[in-house]
Symmetry: C2
Subunit: 350 residues, 2 copies
């Protein structure tokens, strides 16, 4: 985007360039987690651990294999604050890296893991002078244990919960998941849905295609499951639920789904309305890395259902958090302000 | 879209509403194919056949199982012409329904199948007073046999070839597939890439999700394989290649891929340039069923790289062929004309 010529517009643009934002999608991973492998015994896991290289970098390990190169903003509140200061992020919401979910483990183990990680997330926030807020994780394979941990974590200071978009073959319309979401609505806990455990298997192992192809497909499928599987029809309208990465492929493929819904009965599932009817039932983050994609996202979801989400501090996140929104052309000031801060403040009640 | 108020614009809009188009993506399936099961013996197949109900409807059968309800425009030239007349389609390009590909069969069988189907496609076109043109199919599991059948089919009257986006684990950067594409460039044969053999397995069996989730992911992955696997870098720039369904999820997710390419070396494969560099190397059809999605598609690919494609006469296709493009708001007349007819005439040399 080039700078405009008219002085008043230029001033507004300049303000937007330095506007603070609330970043609703960022991850943490602690260095000081309990030793789950030792606690649960050899057959459990592989669990994710972190090798802190001591120079501001580290390596996440899945069992004894390198999983992802990372840097200290992932685990160190001071490093994180420095990073978000540089990006004009007023408040950043942190949540687990999805490999921490433990949805494959026995439910009791996953409940212990969730509780431990949630306390560590809150400890990181406690070191941040209020700049960081935490989403909880729950043992989603067990709805009762999930409800229990959600209630505990919210009382301990979490502002909502992050869940994966499925538990094995159980999708977002699964009875247990819907029951948990109803509990979130009742407790006033906002929900962020993050893709994980990606489809595609060996074919998508090249070029990180699990992240670039499968993750957006998982998110699209999660939204579809809530629509076509009747979850939105069952759940209260005051449930606040947001899907990561700009709703995955959903916003661009809405037309394809809508056409299919009208023309083939087997597409409709038990939904009462066509997919477009449900767009006001969920939000998305802005992690689409392209002004044309953000335009489609805002035009489709409405400016009141998009919030800045960076996926920081991972390399596939937005390097300069919020700048895609700050620099988005043809966006009214009032809408830009909503997307930068207003929607998130309301969504997470912060 | 509401009608505009200014008379001259209104006239242009009115013209656009009835403008003829070239539809580059439609399917056929013949009623009079050879009995492949009998020819190749019991272990082969299951082969797709068609039950013509005699009342203008029919059922495609995969072995002895119903596969898809269809109507006579799929196999009867007269019925097809009536349908395209009603939609102001000047010329329609037909190609195989992907279940006809036989990429899993022994290559010799697939070559026979391709040859038989190609002749039947040309026979349907011969009944159309020039309104229908055919794309060939080839036994893509064998590059040599594919080159041979392509040359034969082009001499017999096909205007190009349709291929699936992969053959089992062999993607669009596979040596044999790239060699075949180089042959297409040398022969001046245009290529349409159609998603098929969709990822996701059992999880995507509900709600036709293989069509609404996996197909767009397959197409995105096919484009990525040509970029990151170095196929575009190797192939001549005069190769004319088009990806179905608006490029699948690729256009919306380009920003995500571009960001990942710049920030993680393992994303880059052997590509020489970032993904956005290759946008002028391929075209897409317009089958996105939503004006916001078509806007993103045109803004991303350029108006000279989009062509009307309906996916007719299947129910998941565009019911009123070309109307999405005809009614697209904020599209210059010259660009609308390109997308309706000009690009396709050049691309297929018709």
């Amino acid at each position: 985007m080039t700078c405009c010529r008219a002085a008043p517009t230029c001033l507004r643009y300049s303000n937007a360039m330095t506007s603070p934002c609330i970043d609703i999608h960022s991850h943490f991973f602690p260095t000081n987690a309990p030793n789950f492998a030792a606690r649960f015994g050899d057959p459990s896991g592989p669990w994710v651990t972190l090798n802190d290289h001591g120079d501001g970098t580290g390596m996440m390990m899945l069992g004894d294999k390198p999983f992802r190169p990372v840097h200290s903003a992932l685990w160190d509140a001071k490093a994180r604050i420095k990073e978000i200061d540089a990006n004009n992020v007023a408040t950043q919401i942190i949540c687990a890296t999805p490999v921490m979910f433990a949805y494959d483990a026995p439910a009791g183990q996953a409940a212990y893991v969730a509780s431990a990680y949630n306390d560590l997330a809150l400890a990181m926030c406690a070191d941040s002078s209020g700049r960081l807020k935490a989403l909880a994780q729950v043992p989603l394979q067990d709805a009762d244990l999930s409800c229990k941990e959600l209630t505990r974590a919210m009382r301990a200071g979490c502002v909502g919960v992050q869940i994966g978009n499925h538990v094995g073959p159980r999708e977002m319309d699964d009875e247990g998941i819907v029951r948990f979401l109803a509990h979130c609505a009742a407790e006033g806990a906002a929900v962020l849905v993050h893709p994980w455990d990606m489809l595609g298997g060996d074919r998508l192992k090249r070029w990180m295609s699990a992240w670039t192809v499968a993750m957006p497909a998982e998110t699209q499928f999660g939204i579809m499951a809530m629509i076509l599987g009747g979850a939105f029809d069952q759940l209260p309208t005051d449930l606040r639920i947001c899907f990561a990465h700009g709703g995955g492929s959903f916003p661009y493929l809405l037309g394809r789904l809508e056409n299919a819904w009208h023309r083939r009965d087997i597409v409709r599932g038990i939904s009462k309305h066509p997919p477009s009817h449900y767009l006001n039932r969920f939000s998305v983050d802005s992690a689409v890395f392209d002004h044309r994609a953000l335009r489609l996202l805002i035009d489709t979801m409405g400016a009141d259902h998009v919030m800045v989400g960076s996926d920081a501090p991972f390399p596939l996140g937005e390097e300069h958090v919020g700048d895609l929104v700050r620099n988005q052309p043809d966006l009214a000031d009032v809408d830009r302000a909503r997307i930068l801060t207003g929607n998130a403040a309301k969504f997470f009640n912060i």
